[in-house]
Amino acid sequence: MNAPLKTADLRASERFQMTAHQDGIAKGETLLAVENVSLSFGGVKAITNISFDIRKGEIRAIIGPNGAGKTSMLNVINGFYHPQEGTITYRGEKRSQMRSTDAARQGIARTFQNIALFKGMSTLDNIMTGRITLQKRNIFWQALWHGPAMKEDLEHREAVEHIIDFLEIQHIRKTPVGRLPYGLQKRVELGRALAAEPALLLLDEPMAGMNLEEKEDMSRFILDVNDQFGTTIALIEHDMGVVMDISDRVVVLDYGRKIGDGPPDEVSQNQDVIDAYLGVSHD
């Protein structure tokens, strides 16, 4: 028998890393802080005085009954809505008025409750669009078929192939996404968000409308993304079982107010939360 193997040598290197949006924030420190935020639409309050934070590297769930203001909250973080009161601090900088495309440029990627993919484009092209903010060469060089612009495109293609491999969707690479079943579309949408190599990934009900098997697949992908790339994830989800299984910390909203915040097991013991969920339905 030969000398024993050194275990450290035998771990294979990961083939792909997400490095586009490095910000020097250490794991566990605050990545995004929401402070006293209120949002209303024509006098109707959607969010009232909510504060919470998202730490680098965690999976943060936002839960609550229907109409609790979860999606509004996500839209505020994403810059789709502008809160009337309160501040949002992202990567240590207080955020001012922003355009909806700015979030993407700052490394915030998201998926939608009702899938918003480019239906006529292939899976590959859809995911490629996720990298648009990372591509530097301008239209002039692209139009001239300039060498470096083409080379840049190839590099992005390679990164996208890693994502395709990661999500196990090789077989639908060239299929127009409009023809895919729902579960796969959800996966492609996650792929497009991942392609931006986001510092913060927002998932709006990633498992809505899925069967049990698809939910398990999706949970596995979310955990893998978090584990392998260290991506910070904030997600909205209805399925309490899933939330308790995969998230590190949970914020509970009800009627636009925060009623609970903490680790899943703690939150599930919280009387207000239990009431909100078991009490009279809001619908």
Partner: protein, 659 residues
């Protein structure tokens, strides 16, 4: 390459030879990150050597068993050769086997090492770790998700190869020693142990000697004139004899290039991109292809549809004659040429069949129409009959002597005889040397004079081609005395595209009853066209219109049975459509998708009782296993119908007297 044919008696010896004679020709391809990567034979030798030297350092010795689990990947194929080069014995295991099945095989074979594809397989092995005390180290190909696992007994494939490469760099003599080891190895060593999927009971480990395996492959490579210029796509289960023989063994002997699909789901696209020249698929794959082609044509425009059907008729008329080099009138040739331009060519291209020179099907009977369809497109599709115990080939058809209803004459150097009870027995170069650790079963299977009992009943027809009717032990009799060959009946039913699976019962009973599984794709499409809505397989299967359709199919089958004198007495009298699809995970099918009749009979005893007691419906609850191993249950009330039967014609000429 006949100069040293006799001295080439192991696959590693062929590896060394091929690295010289085909050094720059491709040996292996694999699509990774959307791009086909390829390895020449010389590079393949490097990869195998690096792995072997790494394994050696980890303590692999001659005679060790090494489990190989996963889908078709270059690294797993290299593992075969690397193990064999150290005179260790590779034991491939079906990647979709549930933990329990896998634990049995790994323990029975006494594997010390396991080389697996990914986290899924690692998890499976870890779940029954304590049941396989012999297992020391696990090597995985894909690191994904395994980073935080305890790496004391677990290693990345590339790290093992890295270890091998480092050793070689330090001491180049190791490489020569390794080659010397290969050249000094004996062909009498066991080359591989293949666990049969087993239609009954536990699977058995079929041991094959290196020299037998090589000789068998040499014969068929010569028979089909395979060479280094051929291409195959390796997509069959790694643990199945068919894959190991057709792709690995024939590949090493002939030097052809083996391509591995990107993932199991991409096979059809990869097939199109590779365009193999040698191809094997079980009949159900061809059936699926035909069904999908027909469905696509249903949705096509009127002109396209007309064009398609016109030229398919032309192909039916002339295609097979042209393929076999028979005389065809000029107009027929012209028409076929046009058809090739507009229909067959594009169709073959879509299916990935453009370059096929030789294709085989086997495993079960193939419908004559299905068979002719593919042959008429100009695809040289043939049949073979084989067994794991023979290292595949027992019979195979010659290029110009192909039929759907028989499986061909004996393969080269194979002796076949039919025993008194109708059982087919053979002696062949590739014949196995015994079941691993199961002496008594080996003796049961062999005759005293050294023939292997196939367990299949059959006969040679007047052209000298073998016809298989059924499993020898499954051919039974009704209480009326009529001969009952369940498989024959099942296959007749499965000729209908709407029927995916059929199970016939009747041995020792007074009449024949069958279970049917509808084909969800075909029937689902039909339902869509006829505005029949359904939410699940169960609902569609129980739909009255589906039952009507099935009744017609059963009646038609009975009409066919009534025309065959031997079978006319055992027509189907009652049938039902099962409320769930038969599934390998529930043990109803084998891993190679054959029905396990006795298991099904036991599992659905209630339904069988209902078939015979005359009731018209029956409530049942069935336990099912999901992919992750959890169990659930399905409840249903299953309808049972009487089938229309046909009188046994007094003279064979008399037709259609029933009304």
């Amino acid at each position: 390459m006949t100069q040293n044919h006799a001295s080439l008696d192991t696959f590693p010896k062929y590896l060394l030879l091929n690295a010289k004679r085909f050094a720059t020709r491709p040996a292996m391809r694999h699509k990774d990150l959307g791009i086909w990567q390829s390895w020449t034979w010389a590079e393949q030798l490097d990869e195998v050597r690096a792995l072997a030297l790494g394994l050696q350092a980890m303590g692999v010795r001659a005679g060790d068993k090494i489990a190989i689990v996963g889908s078709n990947r270059p690294r797993l194929y290299w593992s075969f050769a690397a193990a064999q080069s150290l005179q260790a014995v590779p034991v491939p295991v079906y990647a979709d086997a549930v933990a329990e099945e896998m634990a049995y095989v790994l323990d029975h074979a006494g594997v010390r090492f396991a080389i697996v594809q990914d986290q899924e397989q690692v998890d499976k092995i870890l779940s029954f770790r304590e049941k396989i005390p012999a297992l020391e180290q696990v090597i995985y190909d894909e690191p994904r998700g395994l980073r935080d696992y305890d790496h004391e007994h677990m290693h990345a494939f590339e790290a093992v190869q890295g270890l091998g490469r480092a050793r070689l760099k330090e001491d180049p003599a190791l490489g020569q020693a390794w080659e010397a080891g290969i050249n000094g190895a004996s062909g009498d060593d066991i080359s591989i142990i293949l666990y049969t999927s087993g239609t009954t009971g536990r699977s058995k480990g079929v041991m094959l000697k290196a020299v037998s395996a090589v000789r068998a492959a040499q014969d068929t490579v010569a028979f089909d004139r395979l060479s280094e210029r051929d291409e195959v796509l390796a997509y069959l289960p790694l643990a199945w004899v068919g894959d190991h023989y057709l792709n690995y063994a024939q590949g090493y002997v002939s030097g052809f290039c083996m391509s591995c699909p990107e993932s199991p789901e991409t096979v059809s696209q990869d097939l199109k991109e590779i365009g193999p020249s040698f191809y094997f698929a079980p009949p159900r794959v061809f059936e699926g292809l035909l069904t999908s082609v027909m469905i696509r044509m249903e949705d096509a425009g009127a002109l396209k549809k007309r064009l398609f059907h016109h030229f398919i008729d032309v192909a039916k008329q002339h295609g097979e004659a042209l393929l076999e080099g028979r005389n065809v009138p000029f107009s027929g040739r012209l028409n076929y040429w046009l058809g090739n331009l507009f229909v067959y060519g594009p169709l073959k291209n879509t299916l990935g069949f453009s370059n096929i020179r030789v294709a085989y099907t086997a495993g079960e009977a193939i419908g004559p129409d299905l068979f002719s369809f593919f042959r008429s497109l100009g695809i040289n599709l043939k049949q073979l009959y084989g067994q794991t115990e023979a290292f595949l080939y027992v019979t195979c058809q010659e290029d110009k002597d192909v039929r759907a209803d028989a499986v061909g004459p004996a393969a080269p150097n194979v002796d076949i005889r039919i025993a008194d009870d109708g059982e087919v027995q053979f002696r062949s170069p590739g014949m196995f040397s015994g079941y691993f650790k199961e002496e008594e079963k080996t003796t049961e299977t062999m005759t005293p004079d050294g023939y292997v009992k196939t367990g299949d009943a059959g006969f040679f027809d007047k052209d000298g081609q073998l016809k298989i009717i059924d499993r020898a032990k499954d051919v039974g009799r009704l209480t009326t005395g009529a001969l009952f060959a369940p498989k024959f009946i099942e296959n007749s039913l499965k000729f209908f595209p709407n029927i995916k699976e059929a199970v016939a019962f009747g041995d020792g009973r007074d009449k024949v009853g069958v279970f049917l599984n509808i084909d969800l794709t075909a029937v689902g499409n039909w339902a869509e066209r006829n505005n029949i809505s359904y939410a699940s397989y169960q609902e569609l299967a129980g739909h009255p219109k589906v039952y009507e359709m099935m009744a017609e199919h059963v009646a038609e089958t009975n009409r066919k049975l009534s025309e065959v004198e031997m079978m006319a007495g055992a027509q189907i009298s009652r049938f039902l459509v099962l409320h769930k699809e038969l599934d390998a995970d529930d043990g109803e099918l084998t891993r190679t998708q054959k029905v396990r009749r006795s298991f099904i009979a036991e599992r659905y005893a209630d339904l069988i009782e209902a078939l015979y007691d005359g009731s018209s419906e029956k409530y049942v609850e069935t336990e099912v296993t999901y992919e992750d191993g959890r169990k659930g249950s399905i409840r249903a009330t299953v309808q049972i119908r009487d089938a229309r039967t046909f009188p046994v014609p007094a003279g064979a000429m008399h037709k259609e007297a029933a009304e």
